[in-house]
Amino acid sequence: MAGVELRQLHRRFGDVVALDGIDLEIESGEFVSFLGPSGCGKTTALRLVAGFDRPTSGRVFVEGKDITDVPPNRRDVGMVFQAYSLFPNMTAVKNVEFGLRVRKHARGSRKARALELLELVGLGHAADRYPHQLSGGMQQRVALARALAIEPRLLLLDEPLSALDAKVRIQLREEIRRIQTRLGITSIYVTHDQEEALSISDRVAVLSHGRIEQIGTPSEIYGAPATPFVAEFVGTMNRIESTVADPDDGRVTYDQTSLAVDAVRGRPRGERVLVLVRPEIVEVEAAGTAQNGLVGEVVSQTFLGSVTRLRVLAGPTEWTADLSAARAAALPIGARVSLRFPSAGAKVLSLEGEEPPEPSDG
């Protein structure tokens, strides 16, 4: 039985379509992220599951039970919010106890349970502090403990880390995943941060304009984007508009240059396609040795720590390539370089019947 099932969820606000038919099944114990830009409908979908909003049409099932018309306080769904949501008048332990108090658990048992959960999130020592005495990261940990205290059937996390600084964010997301795995609780995580979604999820659902563009494992989403939008949104991607030149040999024409792309084999000759190449597989060398014969000029270099990102203008497109700092040092801005990539490493999406997408800026 699916942990959560969303069936044809629609939500309109006047003329604005926030959700346009979401169908999704989440297995029990699975951790699924809703990933997408602002306004894509991910938070709306989460609020429908939490019961804070009602769908215009469609149903929500949790563990096989239709909960679409059940009020939020009777859904047994724990939620961690984007904004700091701890009750300012209660200490950390009282916050965690709140759900148990509402459920009329005995004072002793609920306090023991609250302390146990605070220990689980690493805050056993801060039980008696008020929210204003806790850092943002600590507050979100308490909020997580509070949501888990009621032993919910489902845990919802609405961009819980977006207000935190980068280091705490990484640390806390790993902790969320660790706790989720340990407790085996079905979870839905909403984020606009693709790195966050890819790093902690069993599966990621990429949303755009109220629809699920693609759902799959993080490696599927990253390695085989199903639509131009997913390719654009997840990771940095070189998006090369080309035409299929030789479907038998697997070649496309880009800016009068022939490039080997295995994925176009079997496609109609002359089809307009978008060739997708990740920056990390693009090889850049001083001009003159490229087999693919694509030549350009280095226009910028950005040091990113583990790699240096080069922008190379080759044909109408500015290519992005990630190189080690040592190799990048040999290719200064203005240098003539040749580009190539493994012919098996590129993905292809058809552009037939589609408007060409906006150029990516990485």
């Binding site: 939490a50 019961g51 804070f52 009020p71 939020p72 306080n73 009777r74 859904r75 047994d76 769904v77 724990g78 939620m79 919010f81 904004a83 700091y84 949501s85 701890l86 009750f87 300012p88 008048n89 709140f98 759900g99 509402v102 459920r103 008020y130 929210p131 204003h132 507050q139 909020a143 509070r146 949501a147 205290a149 009621i150 919802l156 207000a163």
Partner: protein
Amino acid sequence: MTPRKHIAPGAVVWLLLGAAYFVIPLAATLIFSLRSNQTGTCCTLENYGEILHDPQFSKTIKTSFILSLETIVVTLLLLVPTVYWVHLRLPRLRPVLGFIALVPFVVPAIILVVGLLDIYKGTPSWFYAEPYGFLVGAYVILAFPYMYFSLDAGFRAIDVHTLTEASQSLGARWTTTLVRVIVPNIKASALAGSFLTLAIVMGEFTIASLAVFDTFPIYIQYINQNKAYPASAVTLLSFAITWAAMLALLAVGRGRRAPAAAGAH
């Protein structure tokens, strides 16, 4: 080395002027109240004795105090859920409520009392003929803007939506959410509104006089007209009692020490 804190001489002058504005009348009243009602000479406490032994004094001050408390309770019971709901679900009504709250400022007391006497005519005598009925009805209207604007500011300082949703997701019903989560976090503003209400009701003269009820301000007025020196004593006593009442309210409202506005980001 820590920097020295300078207070500009100009600021000191203004501070002293401000203090003088409050202190001089009080000091003058105090000196005046210590003069003998018979001989006019200083200094005696006989005026205070006379006032404190006057049964009318304790009776009227008790009436006004109970009226204040009753008004505070009724206003809070009416307004806290209303303002909560408006902030949560009907934010478009906020300007409307703000406008209605200004009405008691622009309607003169005489018009208010004549209108109320007319409207309440025919109501049971326990309401119409008693200060604890009729006057509270009028005072709730007078206190409305003070309480409304205080509460409105309090609700704006907290994240009503997130706190409510967090509480609901943990299984709380509306009443539990309101009592356990919302009210404790708007307590400071509810207290501020209550102070203002207390001060207004303790000093309200026009409506009580026109509706012929015997409240503390009516008593002060009576003493003022008849006894010059005791009038100063009763003024100072009323001042002290009002302050004591406010402190008591503060102590009751604060209860256990809890942090004020926090977490409302």
